[in-house]
Symmetry: C2
Subunit: 357 residues, 2 copies
DNA sequence: CTGAAAGCGCTTACAG
DNA sequence: CTGAAAGCGCTTACAG
């Protein structure tokens, strides 16, 4: 179906144009120092012969390295999600490093704005050839994106998006829609009339956009039939186990004054907290849905305390965001600006096939 | 975190060993014509300095092309599934063609053993450097795989597997487990005691392994609680619309003598046939699950006739199978032998994010 | 503004 | 069995 046909090379162009290969190279890369006349001529022949550069020879000859910086949250012990994007990033880098790409990864603490700013500033100091960033602190990011624009440094957003920026791509999930998926699953699993609790684990330091938008999608799904079903939201601000216990007891405890909850939707990866509660109090027959394939969530999924997990495809997020930068800048390909990853529905039965990466 | 450090090159090795680069090259590629003594010496230094070849320079210098043949079913009009693996294959090829890889794709008719044999024989005649095949006709494949083994041609299986062959990889789905996923979804969606129909669209020309194995997984899931729920299997052998209609009426029609079915599991992509039936007869409140994101299935999913589709990730199957061959033979990497792709659960709410490829 | 030459790291004949 | 030289397609100084 396809073959490596003998391709036209720079020397072919040079010969046809009656110039040297150096000159052809100059026009190909817009390096100036060429008269308009020869430039036009070469350009025309390039077009005519449909010249495609040999990227291998090109990167071999030019010892340039394309320096990519990545700025993502540190996984630490409280934020394990971010291990996966990092792994995806590194795998992508392994695949493309031959093309003279270097990758420097910078970490910030997801609950510490200052660490974000500091690291971002460090990166700006370095002036990389491309940046990949998870801009969870939108305001702090925006100022700096302005600087990057001046420096003409292309930016890819990963996991979080900021609208109306000059980023060349966003790679992540449609959070609102993922709430609708959760709603659909609960809708299938519950009988009509059974009530639902939404649990939001709110972070005091901001970055709650995901959570709110998931709740919004979830509620939107039920809107037409909202009369059927009671849906209560509980926001949890504390980190203290004891407090969480109390709040959950009010929200979903068997003695809860509210109508007995049959479905629980936790809007982020901390669903294991709720699973833990259900286990401790031996509450059965509650359908529990949450996010992300953290070890502890997986354990509860396997043991039937969590029914569904929604995965954000974090590994792919890392992989694709680096590839977006690479394809755009090194391979000179057109890339898709908004790359929404699948909203994967995970159960005990298919979990194993999402862990390979 | 990482950088393109100055690497050790062949000339470094040559210098240290007191030989020419040609000799180093000879031992690196086991091309013989080197005395044991110098060979050992070079080998040792290679090891010591942890020499890693520059794959770019290597493929640029050697004008060798690695010829890959692919043998997959033709998509035609009745078998649209196979468009996706083909697209994945082609995308993978686009990414690696620079490394001197050619791809020739051969098609057979999925319901015609002879076409499979004929095309396979053509490929053997060509003696490619690697083969990627969907061995749905196991017996006919086996003989020929024997020949390939003699010719030392590496083989990757795509979508269908044959156990105990010399294939370097299999890329596909765990079909049995996907049946369990379907079972889980119906189990959540139905009330206890409600009965289920399994519909198998059987092909007379063989290749029904997927179907049977999906049913087996499905039934296995319910085994412990089988008494709760009636599960009836209906096999459909005909292609005639009229006959199908009759059989479905017996199986799931509202006047069916059997207990009224509340859940239907169709074990392959022809679930749209059942959706069509439900629509025509205005049967509501039946949960319908089937396989594969064909256009017609997607339409029924969006219109609520189909509730869940299980996707086999066909695009990825194509992509990964070519990459397996590439990574193993060109990049000399270790590859995973059995690459099971995720068992994706698709609903109306997340379908859009599985269509990008 | 332009060309000739050297070089990127590896491979391939060829001569001995 | 071994080495010297040319070449893969492109880029990079340098000289003019």
């Amino acid at each position: 179906m396809n073959n490596n046909l003998s391709r036209v090379k720079i020397s072919d162009i040079a010969q046809r144009a009656g110039v040297s290969t150096g000159t052809v190279d100059r026009v190909i890369h817009n390096r100036g120092e060429v008269s308009k006349k020869t430039r036009d001529k070469v350009l025309r022949i390039l077009e005519e012969l449909n010249y495609q550069p040999d990227i291998l020879a090109s990167t071999l000859a030019s010892k340039k390295v394309f320096r990519i910086a990545a700025l993502i949250p540190e996984a630490g012990t409280t934020n394990l999600f971010w291990n996966a994007p990092l792994a995806g990033l590194q795998e992508a880098w392994r695949e493309i490093k031959h093309f003279g790409v270097s990758l420097d990864t910078f970490f910030f603490k997801h609950d510490d704005v200052l660490s974000f700013e500091k690291q971002f500033d460090r990166i700006i100091g370095i002036e990389p050839d491309g940046l990949l960033v998870s801009p969870i602190f939108a305001d702090q990011a925006k100022k700096r994106l302005f600087t990057l624009k001046d420096l003409d440094i292309p930016v890819v957003f990963i996991n979080s998006n900021i609208e109306d920026q000059q980023n060349i791509a966003f790679v992540g999930q449609d959070t609102r829609q993922s709430g609708m998926v959760a709603a659909r699953l609960l809708d299938y699993s519950l009988n009509s009339g059974e009530s639902i609790s939404i649990i939001n684990f709110i972070s005091e330091t901001g970055g709650n956009h995901h959570i709110l938008s998931r709740e919004e999608g979830f509620r939107y799904y039920f809107e037409p039939t909202t009369s059927n079903r009671q849906i209560n939201t509980t926001n949890i601000y504390t980190q203290e186990e004891q407090k969480i216990e109390e709040v959950l007891t009010k929200a979903i405890g068997t003695d809860s004054p509210r109508a007995i909850t049959k479905g629980v939707f936790v809007t982020n990866s901390r669903v294991f907290k709720v699973a833990n509660y259900l286990k401790k109090h031996n509450i059965q027959n509650v359908i529990l849905i949450g996010y992300d394939l953290l070890e502890c969530n997986i354990d509860y999924l396997r043991n039937n305390y969590i029914d569904f997990l929604i995965s954000q495809n974090p590994w792919e997020q890392g992989y694709k965001s680096l590839m977006a930068l690479f394809n755009s800048r090194i391979m000179k390909k057109e890339i898709v600006k908004n790359q929404f990853l699948p909203i994967d529905i995970i159960t005990k039965e298919n979990i194993d096939y999402y862990l390979n990466n």
